[in-house]
Amino acid sequence: MRECLYCHQYIDKSMSFACLFNQEKAYLCSECVSKLEKVQGGCRRCGKKTTDEICSDCLYWQSLQDTNKYLVNNTSLYYYNDFAKALIQQLKFLGDCKLLLAFKPDIQAIFKKVKHNNIILVPVPLHEERLAERGFNQSYLLAKLIKLPILDIVIRNDNTKQSKKRKQARIVIDNQYQLKEEVDLTNKTIIIVDDIYTTGATIHKIARLFFNSGVKKIYSFTLFRS
């Protein structure tokens, strides 16, 4: 008998949704599954729950010069509801990376429809101190669930080592993310992977890096859309 990854109650096999339809192992009980709210409709560019065609977040990015070119669109799996918050709490603050397995069936289902050639996944990097505390970078582990090539070449610039020589603070904020090395990415499609899409700031910053180095098709995938 398998226990629900989140609430630890035994998963009733006959009741488990994932089991019936995907022939996949179920990691959450039916009660927990029912609390996850899948993204449907909403903003055409990012999936935010809205009645407008384009949400206010996306309108903001479009209003900035050039920014609207960086990202083609964002796909999120679920809305960031109270249950999602509880999951993120356990994942990030308690450091329970096993919880990510719960999303494996849905993630793989979504990527089944994607044409695989020339796609490269780029996980959003984590602060080094966070990494030591938490034991993992959730974006990297998420990307690993997708089973496409991963390129972990973005680094964060705001760790403590850097902060000592940080004199021109404003420039550093602008360069919060950097590419570790120059890689030839012509004709490649980049998918930036993160856990939550809040306003899109992080993802746009990283998208800009790739845009400036010549990548034309940049997408993002996040687990939750707040």
């Binding site: 356990q90 308690l94 450091g95 329970d96 096993k98 034991g135």
Partner: protein, 422 residues
Amino acid sequence: MLKEFTSLATNSIPGVIKHGNKYYCNRCGNSKQKAFYRDSLGVYCRNCLVFGKSATYSTIKREETIISSTNRCCLTKVVHLSDMQKLASQHCVNAYKNNKNSLIYAVCGAGKTEIVYEVILTALNEGKVVGFATPRKDVVLELYPRFKRDFYQVEIVALYGGSQDKGKLGNLYITTTHQLINFYQFFDLIILDEVDAFPYYNNKMLEGFVQKAKKRGAPIIFLTATPTRKLQYLMKRKKLDYFIIPLRFHRYPIPVPRVSLTTSTIQKLNKGECPKKILAWLASKKQCDKQVFVFVPDIKSGLNLEKILKPHFACEFVHAESPDRKQKISDFRSRKYQFIITTTILERGVTVSNVDVCIIGCDAEIFDERAIVQIVGRAGRDKNYPTADVVLFCDYYTREIKRAIRQIKRMNKLAKKMKLLL
């Protein structure tokens, strides 16, 4: 003079270690391999995750104490034990000396705490460290001054969430079961109070805490008034050494509750009405000026009942979130008002003499066998007033009600058979 304590240099050990090809969590004692999982830096334990991450790359501090025992521990006064208590006390000492786990199953009001005094002293005088663990902070706070008063030349440490004593060294620790997580192979004897009352975490995790907090092979003494099914099973199969005290300190039987059927009790309360039967019963208590514990299943129905009763009776509602909880309870003790309405928070521990007890809506899920037995145990505690009227108002008989009544009758019968009753 007090004993001297030497703290050896604190050494750190990893949170999770690998024995052969099996992982083991040094913090919670978990060895179930399914509960371990690998992240990017190592392997962590999911069993005790709520307390922060315990992993192969995390460390826990471990303190070792050496107690130079020069003085003999003793009690500050003679504690009078009933014959049954004496036997139970001897039973504990024997179990400790033989390194055997043992269960003391004593009805509410049998005086469980005094029973373990002897075994605590025996262990302390051998220079050993003893832990008295209980699930609730209230009990720690209540026992600490009592132990301080009764034990002479014993360094007592009280541990609970927010306690000032953290990191203090002693030879007798009164602690909440959760705080046991901070100990690693530390105790020579653990006394586990109210083993049935672990409301928050599953028992398995707790068992792990206890196992690793004590030294290997050190015995555990379980105390309970309402053993769980599992303990009952272990007793029946003679897999656990046990001692039953079927009667109270004052040697009168436990009041057997009577069931009174009412219709849609809780729904009525929520509509602002109260079944006539209940009102009539309470009115009769008012006439003979008897104080009453009124138990309700939840806060909502308690608030409603208070509203209904307030114009006619002197009553107060006390629940887990009432800010003036302590004051209200002490007012009830000093007979400042007549009826105390409460949720199950008062089911254990609070003792008031000469009270009647009723449960309203006893068919609610929260009133299981153990809760009902504990609540009935509030009645007739004082030897001057050993009888009491105990009524369970409910829409219908539940299995739990039947089991609870059966359990009480069984204990009374056992006491009678052993010719122990007065």
